[in-house]
Point group: C2
Chain length 125, copies 2
DNA sequence: TTAGCATATAAGTATATCGTAATGAGGTGA
DNA sequence: TCACCTCATTACGATATACTTATATGCTAA
């Protein structure tokens, strides 16, 4: 009873996962970008993303050598509001909005003048 | 970072605690009533209530020999919506709405004709 | 005052969770 | 082909969680 709901909230109950969700409000991101933006190792990021995918909070999309993760757009209103309400992380979010991966994750390109990446509908205008 | 929010969602991330919150939508309840309505021991219920109180989801009010617990009325809109959206538990909820503790917790009185207990504002009309 | 009810706390145990390091699989490009 | 990049998986240790039983505290009422 309430096992499904509890699993969802347990997925939300970790600071690192909340941070990942907060970042994905800005735009989709590949794993290696997230590794540079949250203070845990690459395997830890992968495991967190797997859990977020399991409970239906994010989905993935492969593109070239990268796996991009993004917030699902069919979140329930209450869950979408929770994510929208998370405090903002100005530096990391500004980075996401002004850079994108190029040939490798370490090589970034300012998005000024480049075609924009898909941006989550959760970003407030 | 996000420690406070994560603690809140971890508190929501347990089926027994969600069940307690779902029941408290109906009305305030004392510990011994909850013990009869959720499938864990009395100390377990006490411990869950302590955690729910710690994160600001419920408050307590002593009355005679009982400690009544109730949902806080200053919950954030998103959290209030989460609790309101929990699936209903018809039997237990009906019991709460038609009975109340009397001289002891085991001795209940049908509320028909009795003055009603405080009922949470979360109950849908 | 004393018995019993209501509740909280403590202690112990089993399991879950979150992190790291090590490794593997698969794609890309020189 | 081969070096490297990206990402996932595995293994393992430390800590947290959720339950139980046992016990303590405080109130009520006879």
């Amino acid at each position: 009873m309430y096992d499904f709901e509890a699993e969802l909230f347990r997925a939300l109950g970790d600071p690192t996962r909340l941070q990942i969700l907060g970042l994905l409000r800005m735009r989709q991101a590949c794993v290696c970008e997230l590794v540079d933006l949250v203070p845990v190792s690459q395997p830890a990021v992968s495991q967190h993303l797997r859990k977020l995918k399991q409970v239906g909070l994010v989905r993935e999309q492969r593109e070239k050598q990268w796996t991009f993760y993004m917030l699902r757009d069919d979140l329930s209103p209450a869950v979408a509001e929770i994510i929208r309400d998370l405090p903002h992380l100005p530096d990391a979010e500004a980075w996401l909005l002004t850079h994108r991966v190029d040939t490798t994750c370490a090589v970034v390109r300012r998005t000024v003048g480049a075609e924009p990446l898909a941006v989550s509908a959760l970003v407030e205008s």
